[in-house]
């Protein structure tokens, strides 16, 4: 049981590292799928929202340029919010 939890934590850390470097490089097409995978497998995968905020802080978020410069934050938060009920619904159907 303990080793199973340890394995999960290790996978989560690996996923976080991938997410961090993908965001640093500006590779949203890598960060987004990995973030969604994380949100699917782990409860409260807040790293997804944090990644969105870091992404926009690095590449977007220029004052007075409109909301589209917050696309990373908006998309990651939406994905996080959608994943919670989606997980529950699909898992209930599986049972």
């Amino acid at each position: 049981m303990k080793s199973l939890a340890k394995g999960k934590v290790t996978i989560r850390i690996i996923l976080d590292v991938i997410l961090f470097f993908a965001v640093l490089k500006g590779w949203w097409f890598v960060a987004l799928p990995f973030g969604i995978i994380g949100a699917w497998f782990f409860p409260y995968y807040l790293e997804l929202i944090v990644a969105g905020i870091i992404y926009d802080s690095l590449f977007g978020m220029i004052p007075e340029t409109g909301l589209w410069r917050y696309a990373g934050t908006i998309i990651s938060t939406s994905a996080f919010v959608i994943m919670i009920p989606l997980r529950r619904i699909i898992r209930r159907h599986k049972k």
């Binding site: 590779w27 409260y44 690095l58 590449f59 220029i62």
Partner: protein, 266 residues
């Protein structure tokens, strides 16, 4: 000891947890909005200072920090040869510049009051969706919002949109939704160019106007250097206009250094 929990108690506990989670979530969103409103540079400055060492390291590796001495010597020799060639060309340019300055003096045109600074490009399109560069150098080097950014060859490519402590964000003129008044071809046909990202632009002109591939596009409001070169002309028989697709003379994806024109602020 084991206690049985009835289903109603379980449901109320779950509801309570969900309420707390929702409360934290809404609170975080509000906190984020307030931070952005009061200090719009706080988060970008914080995360950029974390990312900068990684970007610098990547830039150094790309610049050949890990090359062998033999490779570096060979490259050095090749560059020396190119420098000699460039110096010979520069002599001709020097004569033209001298003539230019004499003419300017005669016409009483003041010389440029700006100063150029070289800055390495840390991140560039196409991977970032916002079609911008992040350059090394910000307020520490005197860069500020609105400073013009040039590619080697004095080709204007964008301007600084946000200057942080040690990095700056450069919005390219080709960013989507950016529009520019340009003159196309030998006939200097006026048109409105719309950015398409990655150094690409499109503009519409009348079908009567003759535009061919390779024509220069200029933007007199920015500078007198070529703004772009026509790539292709799309002609739809049913349309009264033809669409001219043109691109910046430099490949923005390969730029590693840019020049920032610091406007003199007296």
């Amino acid at each position: 000891m084991t206690f049985l929990i009835n289903s109603r108690e379980l449901a109320s506990r779950r509801n309570g947890r969900q309420k707390v989670a929702a409360f934290i979530f809404i609170g975080s969103v509000l906190a984020f909005a307030v931070i952005q409103w009061l200090a719009p540079h706080f988060l970008p400055a914080l995360f950029t200072s974390i990312a900068r060492p990684f970007w610098r390291a990547e830039f150094s590796i790309e610049s050949g920090s890990l090359k062998s001495p033999q490779e570096l010597l060979a490259e050095n020799e090749a560059l020396r040869l190119r420098l000699v060639e460039a110096e010979i060309k520069l002599m001709t340019v020097g004569a033209v510049e001298l003539e230019n300055s004499e003419l300017r003096t005669m016409l009483a045109v003041s010389s440029s009051s700006s100063q150029f600074m070289l800055a390495p490009v840390l991140t560039r399109p196409p991977f970032a969706p916002y079609d911008e560069f992040i350059i090394d150098g910000g307020i520490d080097r005197g860069f500020s919002v609105g400073d013009k950014v040039y590619a080697p060859g004095n080709i204007l490519i964008g301007s600084i949109a946000d200057a942080l402590d040690r990095t700056s964000k450069v919005i390219l003129f080709s960013s989507p939704d950016q529009t520019h008044q340009v003159l196309i071809g030998e006939s200097n046909t006026p048109a409105t160019a719309v950015g398409r990202g990655g150094g690409q632009y499109s503009a519409q002109v009348s079908r009567e106007v003759k535009v061919i591939e390779g024509d220069f596009v200029t933007n007199p409001s920015l500078n007198d250097r070529p703004f772009g070169i026509v790539n292709s002309v799309l002609n739809e028989p049913a349309e009264p206009f033809q669409t001219v697709l043109f691109a910046s003379p430099v490949n923005l994806y390969q730029l590693r250094w840019v020049l920032v024109e610091k406007a003199r602020r007296d």
